[in-house]
Amino acid sequence: MPFGLLKFGLSKTYPAQHHFTPANTQLKNRYDVVIIGAGGHGTCIAYYLAKYHGVTNVAVLDKSYLGGGGTARNTAVIRSNYLTEEGVTFYRESVKLFQDMSNELGFNVMMENRGQLTLAHNDATIRSFRWRAEVNQHLGVRSELVDRQTITELVPNLNMSEDVRFPIIAGLWHADGATARHDAVAWGYAKGACERGVELHQLTEVQGIEVTRGKVTAVTTNRGRVECGCAVQAVAGSSSVVGMKAGIRLPIHSYPLQAMVTQAYKPLLTPHVSSPQFHVYLHQTSRGEFVIGGGSDPYPLYSTRATLDQKETLAAAVMELFPFLSQVRVMRQWGGTTDMTPDYSPIMGLSPVENYYLDAGWGTWGFKATPICGKTMAELVATRRVPEIIRPFELERFYRFEQINEAGATAASH
């Protein structure tokens, strides 16, 4: 191992295989498809277009770098225990695709099927858990209501004392819950897409979108103008800003969401643990760090700054659940932007502009939807037909007052 490292360090040429090949070339004058945003979603759409639909004249443009936005900032939770039929069906397919992702890509995304335990501290939450468990089981998702004894067996370190602010009285056990390395998801899709001819252009900011007679004809960037057959926006926290460039106003408010990571500890927590009452969730990474996340901030902001209020709230919550964490230091903290919709469901599919497709409104549920979103959006772009599984999530639903009230979403308290 040390010799291998030495060889690596002294080599004149890069001795390992590159994860992906960013396009060093100039932008072409025209692409069949321009994808705005090189996160997990954007690269996944490109991957499916290239591999399964033979569409390779594709450019993925990003104002920053590959996987540097929501993809890098989420807490890497994969689950499908939502509440609406549309939501559960959609995320169920995503979990399946995650399970096979490393094989599909020939790239290790470190998928780990840990399970997820959501805690109830009051009767109202138990009622909602029964509801969720029934809906999930009906749709083939593994969720069940569990008692205190089972919770102790699943997570022996959890503080089950009844002499606390909010004693734990039951749980929702979701055996399909999982985690994966979020950066690797974007890298794997980018690699697979670039190998098939897709061009990834980083530091290429879309500054304008040219719409002529209701159709997108070109995008203007800081590196020049590019004509396109169609365009897809997959820009998470910047959805409203980019959408307005195409004249599309969206039902989105952008809120920061703050998270933090502790120093590494010995492995002692296997599942994700989540508490809607405390607005906190955490899991231990395979490196040993505890990843701790909460709900979105109380008001919209295009900044990823930290607030002491939020950090105190998160710390107080995890210390009640796992008192030993009071001795653990916080190593890093960060914020991401969550583009929250009024019904906590995403906005996918057609837009008011004919050949402009939306992949937006991903609030706190974007990472876990990456593979199914990319697969279905690619199908839409290639065939111009909206796949049935994403039809309920179209923007037009708000004009028909047919929202999909996803009360099973994280931060659905806003």
Binding site: S240, R249, I252, H253, S254, P298, Y299, L308
Partner: protein, 100 residues
Amino acid sequence: MKILNCPLNGPRNIAEFSYGGEFHRMPDPSHCEPRAWAEYVFFHDNYAGIVTEWWYHNATSYWFLAERDTITDEIIRTYPASDVFREPVDFSDETDADHE
């Protein structure tokens, strides 16, 4: 602690307030098209820059308006809603009469 200057209560911790959404003039609910109503209820400018929005002081049930920069989180100005609404808003209409 971040301070918000309430027109009624003076400078207070922002944790005492609730965000109330972007300020837009409400279309006439009984006469506007459903699409226009959906636009008003669900859609937002979500503008990156200086915006005008509703805020609410929880303890005193007081609604007011604020100008805030959504990039820097700087609160530029707060003022009572009466600066904008000179006349009381009339919520009654003929459809109410129909139900009576």
